[in-house]
């Protein structure tokens, strides 16, 4: 399994990671090898096997009532924000 540097750039774009051009060859090589290792899965006969998404089968995703259970913690949470103003998170202008 061999990836191209173009594919790595596409994947990095989808993952919102700005790679430097000089980093791309090493990721291309290591991801190709990882996908090669993963391709061992082809050996397994999985016909008729139900895919498993959760280790405890039979567990049902719990739901809760749609009620308020905690107070407004906006100020406490925004103490970790890089940039806020009037209770809002600031980002670069999106609409000109």
């Amino acid at each position: 399994m061999s990836l191209t540097s173009n594919q790595i750039e596409t994947v990095a774009g989808l993952a919102r990671l700005a790679l430097k051009p000089e980093e791309i060859p090493a990721y291309t090589e290591s991801l190709s090898r990882i996908l090669g290792m993963i391709s061992q899965l082809e050996q397994a006969d999985t016909s008729g096997v139900e895919p498993m998404a959760h280790p405890l089968t039979g567990q049902v995703q719990r739901l809760r009532a749609d009620t308020i259970t905690s107070g407004n913690s906006r100020e406490a949470y925004q103490r970790n924000a890089p940039q806020v103003e009037a209770g809002l998170y600031l980002v670069p202008r999106v609409i000109e």
Binding site: A15, A18, L31, L41, V49, Y77, N80, P82, V91, P92
Partner: protein
Amino acid sequence: MARTLAELAAGLAARKYSAVELTRDALARTERAQPQLNALISITAEWALAAAAVADQRLAGGQAGPLTGIPMIHKDIFCTEGVLTTCGSRMLSNFVSPYDATVVTKLKQAGMVMLGKANMDEFAMGSSNETSFYGPVKNPWDPTRVPGGSSGGSAAAVAARLAPLATATDTGGSIRQPAALCGVTGFKPTYGRVSRYGMIAFASSLDQAGVITVSAEDAALTLQAMAGFDPRDSTSVDVPVPDYRATLNAPLAGMKIGIVKEFFGAGLQPEIEKLVREALAALTRMGVVVKEVSLPSLPLSVPTYYVVAPAECSSNLARFDGVRFGHRCENPKDLRDLYTRSRAEGFGDEVKRRIMTGTYVLSAGYYDAYHLKAQKVRALITDEFRSAFQDVDLLLSPTSPTTAFGLGDQTSDPITMYLNDIYTIGANLAGLPALSMPCGFAGELPVGVQLIGPHFGEARLLNAAHQYQQATDWHLKTPASFAEGFA
């Protein structure tokens, strides 16, 4: 000299020392060891002394539990209110958590005294603690070697007897493998047994919180306080928590232990195989019956894991966008630039590799070939475990194919690094409880033996490990430079 958490608790109850005295001692050991081991990211001395004073009041007032006043260390993956919580990453190097993880709340309520936060592989991705933004942890048995990972700081801290307990998390072996490499006991409960609320997510269908301790009895004591249903974790399981300590002394006669054939193949250091078989022999002298079992799909657990875990990681780590918390790049020119540069600067190399692997296997056109296929193989592996547990009570294997390797030895090749978890990943894929405990030394380096149990088989696992530790003293061995004990 107190050698374990249980012995320390007895000393506190007998007023041999106060919680404040214990805490001062533990802080002094921790400060002294920090330049040698780099086991912690933060030391919370002021917080610890205040908590110890409260614990002393509880002890004096007769309101103490078995953990009250005992010093401990939290892996830096657990959110701690008002304390830096980094997950070993530059991304969170400025993050002061606004709330406590459920595990943190529960151990606080039990009166435990947090000394600080343990170093770890970045976002728990690694098997050597070398991916940490805060630098590698050194193995107390040989500081030129790694402690294992991702809970390398937790394992090194307990091995160096800084504290008798460190919390840890295990997604593919991150409690058990460092416990083996550092000569301590590491316990990963059943998936869903301990709340994941406030535990920074890596791969949500695999992550589970547990403990690193000196003994299985200490693991039982702390698991008792940590386990239980939590409505704030949607995968927490509402199953009653038994009294783990009550069954520690049950006789092992007639217990059936399976030896997994696939776990004794190529790649296993011969000295490790010899010590693991000696551990088995010690168990048979207690009346355990041994049976060989085969789990033919188990050799596919590493490739299965390296689809499932990166896929879930790519999704979980999408939240780090430089907007609401965490690292933000300087002078972003637009929103996309803010996202991509903040993430590129905030994440280290291995985290990026896993995010990209996960993004690739989930991307259009590849989903069926990779993610769906891996989920099916995961089902096969889980079924094989389930059939094995119809014949045997527990499974036994080595924890790690090698002893602690040298710092830098495996950093150039991710796949070599991934294979360190070849014996531990299966339990995560199937959600099973498992532990590693010391079973001897290969040269100067500790070796661990792994026991795996069926879902919610914690009590049986702890029982078997405790009985083994009554007959042996490998778990009480300490590195020469850290031999002073807890009190």
